[in-house]
């Protein structure tokens, strides 16, 4: 009887261990499957031209997506400039200043904003920026992406600030630092690594957004000088090229997907390396 129980316990242990292991393996393999698939299909069409040339007119093969790569970078820059400071400051407010009720309202609203479908954000940015001037623009796309960056930044900033031990706050205030000085000179630097990672994840998340750009930045087969004209972006290009009936365009869509994923991975890696180096320089 006892032996049976022991056997049951041991097998239950083995079953649960393998279940969690399989799930963990599935998570990792999804990323590698996507990466492998993209490499397989997009790697072939990836050439120097892809990064330097404009798209060719319909019917001609070859050409590249230089305008879409630059367009995506410009959109991300706008989203970062408009979204990150607002998200950061709101996160500081929530973690350091907010009272009970008001903080609850902000936090709840932020979570709701985070859950708003990206296409709805696109429509909102459309009516806010596109309709008044009556044409699509990089600016409108940047506004849409910034609206998605804000809630993610707010919550990650708040979490990392809350994780800073209260003893640091007391230490600074006991030396006569005001609350704002304490936050600016001790709390924010202590949490800076996490906050920056959170910001980068927010940007990586919106880098692949297509829906909010469809009727804000729209698309463009040529360069888009300045901020006031329709601009191509990698996700929208992938969408356009993938649903087109040409084999060459399909290959280019795969290549664009690969480039987009690589950009996000590289930015992530670069940020982590920079943070690590700074961290080790501090503790060396």
């Amino acid at each position: 009887m006892i032996r049976l129980r022991l056997l049951w316990r041991k097998s239950l242990n083995a079953i649960m261990l393998s279940l969690t292991g399989v799930a963990a393996f599935a998570v990792v393999s999804v990323l590698f499957l996507i990466l492998g698939y993209l490499l397989l299909h997009g790697g072939k069409s990836l050439s120097w031209d892809f990064f330097t040339k404009l798209p060719k007119p319909v019917g001609e093969s070859g050409g590249g997506m230089a305008n879409a790569i630059l367009g995506s970078l410009k959109l991300l820059l706008l989203a970062a400039v408009m979204g990150l400071p607002v998200g950061l400051l709101a996160g500081v407010y929530l973690a350091e200043f907010g009272g009970k009720t008001f903080s609850f309202v902000i936090r709840y609203t932020t979570d709701l904003l985070n859950g708003v479908p990206s296409i709805v954000i696109g429509i909102f940015a459309y009516s806010l920026v596109v309709l008044p001037v009556k044409h699509f623009s990089t600016l409108a796309g940047g506004v849409a992406l910034a609206m998605m960056v804000i809630p993610i930044t707010v919550r990650s900033t708040e979490e990392f600030l809350r994780a800073v031990p209260g003893s640091l706050r007391e230490g600074a205030m006991a030396l006569g630092a005001s609350k704002w000085k304490t936050i600016a000179t001790v709390i924010l630097p202590a949490a800076s690594g996490g906050i920056m990672t959170g910001m980068l994840l927010a940007l990586a998340r919106v880098a692949g957004e297509t829906a909010p750009l469809l009727f804000t930045a729209f698309s463009n087969r040529f360069w888009s000088p300045g901020w006031g004209q329709p601009a191509a972006s990698l996700p929208v290009m992938i969408y356009t090229y993938a649903i087109a009936p040409y084999d060459d365009w399909h290959r280019q869509a795969w290549a664009a997907g690969l480039v987009l994923l690589m950009l996000v991975l590289l930015a992530n890696l670069g940020c982590r390396l920079a943070l690590n180096r700074r961290g080790s320089a501090r503790s060396a």
Binding site: S167, E170, L175, A177, T185, P189, R282
Partner: protein
């Protein structure tokens, strides 16, 4: 204005301290001026009263120890002296706390905390270099002089200079716990406070390091007034000139350390120091 007085304090701290404490004279023989005079102090966390009508004088250039069981209000009491409790929402102080005759509740809190420094239970160095930790208080107070000299002076006063002088740019986290605590003392000393409050500064440290801190307190008496909260009665007996015993938010007994530990007047004090409770 504030920075002017600050500068004066800093120069005065460089003057050699001629007032030496003769070990043969006890505290009572040399009557020290009163630095802190606390009268009828009540303290409330929301509706809950934590301190009841405490009257206490903290003499200048002496070490005053606060002892008592956990939750007796000794830390809360210490934290009212530099108004650190104001960080906690919904707290209230009643009564009078005079620092050199001035009511601290009417003072600018930044100026008060510069005059009354604090060292906490757990070492809490900032995630910065050793140098920047010590310079922090000077920087935020807008000190525009030569930081290097003051950093060295403060580290020397905290008996840490010899151990860290070649590693000033390294992270404070690379130091051991005892070194971190002395760094926190140096950080507090950098702004040249008149009073140093120590909230169980040795409870996270080993005995050897504890001895170092006690030795340090003895040296600091020349230039500073010290008030220390401690759980360790031997520490209070060894390192302090005066001892105050608190119980349930009330001050039970306060006298010279030698007297309190040998001939306590209150039976509760005797019960506590002989280890019958607490």
């Amino acid at each position: 204005m504030a920075s002017a007085t600050h500068g004066k304090n800093l120069t005065s701290s460089f003057a050699p301290h001629v007032r030496m404490t003769d070990p043969s004279t006890t505290a009572s023989e040399k009557e020290a001026p009163v630095r802190f005079q606390i009268s009828k102090l009540d303290f409330f966390y929301g509706p809950k009263q934590a301190i009841f009508g405490v009257n206490l004088k903290i003499p200048a250039n002496r070490v005053t120890a606060l002892i008592g069981p956990s939750g007796c209000g000794k830390s809360t009491f210490l934290r009212t002296l530099n108004r650190m409790n104001e960080i906690i929402r919904n707290t209230r102080v009643e009564g009078e706390i005079l620092l050199d005759g001035q009511d601290i509740l009417q003072m600018d809190v930044v100026g008060l905390r510069r005059r009354v420094g604090m060292v906490f239970q757990r070492p809490n160095p900032f995630p910065k270099s050793i140098y920047e930790n010590v310079a922090y208080g000077l920087r935020i107070n807008g000190y525009k002089g030569r930081l290097d000299d003051l950093v060295e002076h403060s580290l020397r006063r905290a008996a840490l200079w010899e151990e860290v002088k070649d590693y000033l740019k390294k992270s404070a986290f690379a130091l051991s716990g005892g070194q971190q605590q002395r760094l926190c003392i140096a950080r507090a000393l950098a702004v040249d406070p008149e009073v140093l409050l120590l909230d169980e500064p040795c409870s996270a440290l080993d005995p050897v390091t504890t001895a170092k801190i006690e030795e340090l307190m003895f040296q600091l008496k020349d230039s500073c007034t010290l008030a220390i909260v401690t759980h360790n009665m031997q520490q209070a007996a060894r390192a302090s000139d005066f001892t105050a015993f608190m119980l349930d938010g009330k001050l039970i007994e306060h006298s010279e350390t030698s007297k309190l530990f040998t001939t306590p007047t209150d039976p509760r004090t005797e019960a506590y120091i002989t280890g019958r409770f607490g």
